[in-house]
Amino acid sequence: MGFLTPDRIDLPALVAAVSAPERGGVVTFHGLVRDHHAGRRVLRLEYHAYAPMVEAECGRIMAEAEDRWPCRVILRHRTGGLAIGDTAIAIVTAAAHRGEAFDACRYVIEAVKRRVPIWKREYYADGTEAWVDPTAPGGTVAAGSP
């Protein structure tokens, strides 16, 4: 299906893909690469992914959202190396009215964060690097050989 991409995300193309005359509400969410995390300055990051499961899980999440709300959903997530300010994820939902579009978009981003097997490795200004781990104290675990 191609939810995961090494290439820059083309948001206008995603909006066009779900827009239609009967859908008057379009909501877009972009997640951008932030320059700080837990008090450390981030220089860049890498996304690592279990690509076949990313495709399967994103497909399931999209189907759940479209089943729950009368809407169309499209999403893309980057993999590989990203710079500060790059779009890491984009989600577009389109529905007849804004309520369904907002609700579906929120559902999709929260489900992606919880369920889609993608891992973020951050590189810091102090020369260290770490895997982001929302379950760890401080939100990261040190990267590299144990």
Binding site: G31, Y47, H48, A49, Y50, P52, M53, A56, E57, H77, A88, I89, I109, V112, K113, R114, R115, V116, P117, I118, W119, K120, R121, W131, V132, D133, P134, T135, A136, V141, A143, G144, S145, P146
Partner: protein, 86 residues
Amino acid sequence: MSTSPGSSVRVLLFARYAELLGTEAAEITIPAGGTVSDAVVAIRALPGGHLLPPRLLVARNLVQVGLEEPVGPGDELALLPPMSGG
């Protein structure tokens, strides 16, 4: 009936877990009729496996599953560190 030799199962490792075990894929052997729980025991016995955290998320054939789920020949298992996409 003779004792079954068990099943050989491929396990994929990612991100921090691949670093801890020094590999992105491993073959393990689990008892015939074994479960994800048996697979986790076998993975912990691999070099570096003792460094894995106590609680592990496991996917079988691209779907997250519980420890009691069966695992058979041809299944692909993956150990999933806490996810941080989005």
